[in-house]
Symmetry: none
Subunit: 237 residues, 2 copies
DNA sequence: AAACTTTGTTTCATCCCTGTAACAAAAACG
DNA sequence: CGTTTTTGTTACAGGGATGAAACAAAGTTT
């Protein structure tokens, strides 16, 4: 999964940097804005995954901003408020906000809420758009790669007890069969956000995978000079 | 046709009045309650035509309330939830809820759903029992997780005296067997409306659960790097 | 209000995963 | 056939993830 981008609408410069910095360390791409005016167009133009909105802005009432953003956009909005006012909270939520947090707050909590909001919207996309057409088991030559159980079962239904790393690698390969995947590409698929410092890391994992695939190790074919390829065909050359 | 009576279980006073007023205008008799404690007995004593239950109550966990009401009562329950969580929805429905609506909602929609539920139950009275089969007891390896009694019984029919937190966690796991559930997900399933600030809280509860499961502790499998998984199978690797 | 229960947090030790290095084997190339 | 390049294998160490114990905070009961 790629990095999520978050728009912070906040007039307090200190909070801007503190929150922004923290979220960046948390792995998010952050864009910060200090005024109401820019906010609407920015939210409309760019495709953010979540918006963090501080209610007390200098040039306008934040609450209206919620519905204005909502006009053109369904991006989840988390409202940051200075006061713990239930009525205000309700109004915000009714205007279309997705969550409400009161200052002062702990960064961990904010982080958790953002994560929750993001996951929620992802669930939406998965359940409504895909409507349960998720591939949950990948079958080949009697083997079963179960994505719910995070496990690979051999033709005798015994678990091969893969590590998560091995699992993700096999998953990446099996989801793109008959296609040569570079080490670089495989690394990105299995190591979200990290950089590959050592090319051969993939090779080692491939080796470990093949060992656990036993006699069907040839399902993973080496493409010399390129990378690796998964083959579930009748025959492997 | 006589006026239908609706019980609103809602801690937020503003929502109480707003929703209550609207439904009264809509021609219903409305009774409002703000706390979990009253809810069960009130629901048992009085004969309502429908119950509107807000999941986030101050003094108790809303989800449990569903099954508690169901013990003595077949009144249709509409769950009002702050979050749009598919898993939660499923659990609610399995616990015996009849419908599920997410905040913020439009009063018109709520009204429509109430009407639908009332119509359905009227039809039911004519026809037969409920079509959906509720899960009330979960069995595995001689153990019995009784969702009505809120208790776990070991193979000797002795109570294991779980705390509510432990119970809910085991329940969440057992309702999704053979599926790796993340700590985040488990937290949301067991902690209504709260946000996880510390992942390892789940780990501790898992440990406590395993201790009470004694020799069958392996029913809860650790999925390294992912979370935990419940297995009621013959064998666990 | 005190005692108790329940649950979240911290800390530490352990275990397992995984990247790294080193070397062997195989393939490509002349 | 020898050299070079690429890949397979093994061993190892660092680090991350997990479990257990102890503690603290929050809630509950009396």
């Amino acid at each position: 999964m790629q990095k999520s981008t978050i728009l912070i609408i906040e007039d307090d410069e200190n909070l801007q940097t503190v929150v922004g910095q923290y979220l960046e360390d948390d792995g998010y791409k952050v864009i910060t804005i200090g005024s109401f005016a820019e906010a609407v167009e920015k939210a409309a133009i760019t495709d953010f995954h979540a918006i963090l909105l501080d209610l007390v802005l200098p040039d306008g009432e934040g609450i209206n901003l919620i519905s204005k953003i909502r006009i053109s956009n369904t991006t989840p909005i988390i409202v940051v408020s200075g006061k713990n006012d239930t009525m205000e909270k309700i109004i915000c939520l009714e205007m279309g906000a997705d969550d409400y947090i009161t200052k002062p707050f702990e960064m961990r909590e904010l982080s958790a809420r953002i994560k929750a909001v993001l996951r929620r919207t992802n669930d939406h996309q998965n359940s409504e758009e895909t409507s349960g057409e998720k591939v949950e088991k990948i079958l080949f030559k009697g083997w079963c790669l179960d994505r719910q159980q995070y496990e690979l079962f051999d033709p005798d239904q015994k678990a091969a007890s893969l590590t998560t790393g091995e699992f993700k690698l096999l998953e990446a390969l099996a989801l793109a069969p008959k296609r040569a995947l570079s080490r670089e590409h495989l690394f990105e698929l299995t190591h979200e956000g990290k950089y590959d410092v050592y090319d051969r890391a993939i090779d080692i994992q491939i080796a470990r995978l093949r060992k656990k695939l036993r006699k069907d190790a040839k399902l993973i074919k080496t493409v010399r000079g390129v990378g690796y390829m998964f083959i579930n065909d009748t025959e492997a050359a």
